[in-house]
Amino acid sequence: MKGGKGWIPLAAIALSIGILPWLRELTGFPASYLVLLSAVLFWTAQATSWNILSGYSGYFSFGQGAFYGVGVYALAVLVGRHGQSWWLGLLLGGVAGLVLALVIGTIAFRLRSLRGEIFALLTLAIPFILSAIARVTDSIDGGQGIILPVPEYPDFFGPFQQFIFWLSGAVAVLALVIAYGMVETRYGWALFAIHDDEAVAEGLGVPTFRHKMIAIAANGLIAGLSGAVSALQVGFISPEGTFNLRVPLFVIVMSVLGGRLFWAGPAVGALYVVTLQNRLAGGFEGWSLIILGAVLVLLVLFAPEGIMARFVRRPWTIVAVAAGVLAALALYGEWGDPVSWFALALGSAAVVALLPAGTIAGRRTASPSSRLGSALADPGEPETSSPGIGKTLVEAGEVTRRFGGIHALRGVSMRLSEGELVGLVGPNGSGKTTLVNLLSGALRPTSGSITVDGVDIVDMAPHQIVHQGIARTYQIPRPFNSLTVKDNVVVAIMFGREPRGLAASRQAAAEYLALVGLSDLGDVRPGGINLHERQLLEMARAMATRPRILLLDEALAGLNPVEIDNAVAVVRRIHRSGVSIVLVEHLLRVVNQLATRIVVLDQGRLLAEGDPATVMQNPAVVSAYLGSEAHARRD
């Protein structure tokens, strides 16, 4: 998913597409190769646009055929039926794809119950509907198809195939630029975060709805444009030829084969699949689909993460092998034609890429002792006293939350002031986590009010609440698993209360890793660190949003005594830095040690509140706590 110097190959691709036709005249490069290349470019645009939505954000779409199809029909109707010019058709093709994408996005992404699966099925149905509409509407198609005349285009473009090549190339480059640009900016990172855990992304300040809309819009726009170009090329348009399973299935096949997590992955997949199909078209009668199917099965089974993922491990070896094969065949010159040589070179590159490699980079593990030491002993830090209590920051008034018939919270009022560290305690099921969810916006109260610094946040989306200065952690850590520890923090900085760009965020990330003592593990993926470290990562990520209030939901659950001490030190450090904290915790020892004030919930009601010593003496608290604990043990 990472970018870097992607502009080099991008510029090279754009340049080659631009000059190829002149090069062709100079070298006698046969025009028919433009057909093959145009096909690669068409599928590059389609698969890349699909991947921006489905690969980056994880919202799997079966509806590529819908975006492609409206692009095809927009141009076909405008040019074939109304005799308008081709460029107007292209424009309308892109707009049609875009509009359809926005409509689908607005409906699908607004659904509260939307899961990835539902989205996938929803998009599956759309092409069937569009196909039927085209068929029964005489002014669109009427069922007989539309024949397009060869368009009149400026002589500058040369032969028709060259014209199509350039158009396909322009759309493919546009797709790749958007796909690469996203990787290098907040837009892509928001999608990667959504891909891994949408709720967490929203809770770190990512406006998830907006970014999903941007992704689907990019998908629709590019697919529509590319569809319009292909309509010009094919020349005969019919509903059954347009809205079938080919486009939706092939973009998935190409993206997965190439590598969904890489901006160039779908393009690589397109190159492979188109070349393979080209070589299978003649002379394999009765076997072509068997070979294609077998290659697909084997690649998915043995390289599920795609060719790009293997390529990056040993790029020069692979390029050298491919170049060697290509050069050898070209020099020998007795066998096949250049396309066969190229296909064989691609094939050998794939074989080398698929050979088992050594250990995967980026998963190094530090020794356990060195890991913990950093956070515990931080000699440079002065032992300052707790910050003083200031003005009220959060005020919850008569907050009630019901789930069906069950009251999780009944009219709870509480406030949190600057500099406070409130311990929120109570037996299981007393409503602690519900309160955290209400404060962070993950849930909405059934009734009651919540304000932050005087601003009502009840109707705000979680990411807006983050921007008001509330951040949270999860009881069971929910890191973005496909990003490194450092990049987890980077996402939070980029979308926090004081948003920054990618480069600036990368620089700033070290500060937050140091705060929790994870500096040594920045390049490790969350799968490679232990529970304690993941909980520290939760805190680092929450702090990276630059909150004024931090909600820690049982951040110490499941830790051993040494780890608890370490975590307590981190919490204290965060508190001293001036952040108010709500600490939900079972371990009364810890709460007593840290909290400036304690709030006790029982059965959804506020039972008691005050300074730790007083509250813990309260008979009602003792009875509720011990009684229910005793009850729980009997169970």
Binding site: I8, A31, Y33, P159, F160, L326
Partner: protein, 444 residues
């Protein structure tokens, strides 16, 4: 990171260079040897009996084409494949073309229209085939034609129905369905019905909404023109139902119920493949309902014949050739040979319906047009071939002498007729002068 991106660029640059340089080598290799992956038909002919005319010699002439060997059009594609292979083999046995052997480079377009254009571009541009022949099915032909036009290749084609849209002067229809099939077919059917002396008064139209079939029922959507739905009323037949359905339809029960409700004297199924089968079976399942007369436009002949024979329904359809004995008797003996050899090869290929009929005859016509054009022009120059065909026409085994008039998109006078299932066989019944038997009216 930087490393791998540079590697990518380097690979691409290299690929470009090799492609550019490789081209010169390619030019020589493709002409001296058959391109990789060619279906080499010529190879089989080395075992040809010695008594035939001088064996063809020299470099083979390569004819390129696609057919839908798999996918939706596959069932008919295989018939065109067998017919074409038979033609090429016989041609090579008889001395080849211009004294050279002929090779057919056949590719599978998988019934996907988009593939057709790409494959023809490759055949002509990349592999440099000498001649081409059209693919099967109207949409595929429409996709291939612009490529042929761009390269100036002569393209005989078997089956395109949308005659008015085939404007390339060097495309030559081999199954001439008339310049206005939308008017011709309904009128011919109405003529036949007229001959039944009032037995048929009402018509139900059931139409597959895909290019060719819908054209016959409705005409083109944006043009006012005669078609079945207007011609039947003009000819005094009442249209009691007019039902379109989507291509790939599998649910016939509702349509069957509609037709039974309308109870027409003639049911015209303007469908493809086994559409008519599905509808007839669904109607029979409604208490054995059957309209007195049924006409099916472009059916798969085998399954419909089997259904018609077993259920005793005398279905009508279009045809340009049926190997009925009465018809074969009037033709050269070579026709019987062709018909028999086709049946042998079809059986060997595992095809269930082995009769050499309309589709195969159309294929044969297309090959003959191509071969006669080349022989007439005496060269492989496409303009010369095209000019020769316009000037001199062709003499076709299954259609007699034909002429190509550019003003009607080369659609020669149609020899389309109507066939009927009679006693377990398809039999030509209309027009009377080319019929092998008399049209049977509704049995009451």
């Amino acid at each position: 990171m930087k490393r791998r991106m540079k590697a990518g660029s380097a690979a691409m640059a290299l690929a470009l260079v090799v492609f550019a340089c490789g081209d010169t080598a390619a030019d020589t290799t493709t002409t001296t040897a058959a391109p990789a992956g060619t279906t080499t038909v010529a190879a089989e002919t080395t075992a040809a009996p010695p008594e035939t005319t001088a064996a063809p010699s020299g470099e083979p002439i390569v004819v390129g084409s696609t057919l839908s060997l798999t996918g939706a059009f596959g069932p008919t594609g295989v018939i065109h494949q067998i017919a074409g292979e038979l033609f090429v083999d016989r041609l090579n046995e008889e001395g080849g073309l211009l004294g050279q052997p002929v090779e057919w480079d056949l590719r599978d377009d998988e019934s996907v229209t988009d593939n057709v254009a790409t494959l023809y571009e490759q055949l002509i541009g990349q592999d440099g085939v000498d001649l081409i022949i059209g693919p099967y099915a109207t949409p595929n032909i429409l996709a291939a034609m612009p490529i042929a036009e761009r390269h100036g290749y002569v393209m005989p084609q078997h089956t395109a129905v949308l005659a008015p849209t085939l404007t390339y002067p060097c495309q030559f229809p081999a199954w001439s369905i008339g310049f206005e099939p939308n008017a011709f077919i309904p009128n011919q059917l109405a003529d036949a019905m007229d001959s039944l002396g009032g037995a048929v008064e009402t018509v139900a139209l059931v139409t597959n909404q895909s290019g060719s079939a819908a054209f016959v029922t409705f005409g083109r959507p944006d043009v006012e023109e005669p078609a079945a739905q207007t011609i039947f009323p003009e000819r005094g037949y009442e249209v009691v139902a007019n039902i379109p359905y989507p291509p790939g339809n599998t649910e016939w029960d509702a349509i069957a119920a509609e037709v039974r409700q309308a109870d027409p004297d003639l049911l015209m199924v303007n469908g493809l493949g086994v559409d008519a089968n599905g509808l007839i079976e669904a109607m029979l399942a409604l208490d054995g309902y059957r309209p007195p007369m049924i006409f099916a436009l472009f059916p798969a002949p085998g399954p419909l014949l089997a259904l018609g024979s077993s259920s005793g329904i005398e279905v009508l359809s279009v045809s340009i050739f049926e190997p009925n004995e009465a018809i074969l008797a009037d033709m050269e003996p070579s026709v019987t040979e062709i018909v028999d050899e086709f049946a042998e090869r079809a059986t060997a290929a595992g095809v269930p319906y082995t009769v050499f009929e309309t589709q195969a005859a159309a294929s044969w016509n297309a090959w003959e047009i191509l071969v006669q054009g080349v022989e007439g022009a005496g060269s492989l120059d496409h303009q010369a071939i095209c000019d020769y065909l316009h000037e001199s026409g062709a003499d076709l085994t299954f259609a007699g002498p034909v002429e190509f008039d550019e003003s009607v998109n080369n659609f020669w006078d149609t020899n389309l007729g109507i066939k009927q299932i009679q006693d377990g066989d398809w039999v030509m019944v209309w027009p009377a002068e080319r019929a092998a038997a008399e049209l049977r009216g509704p049995s009451s």
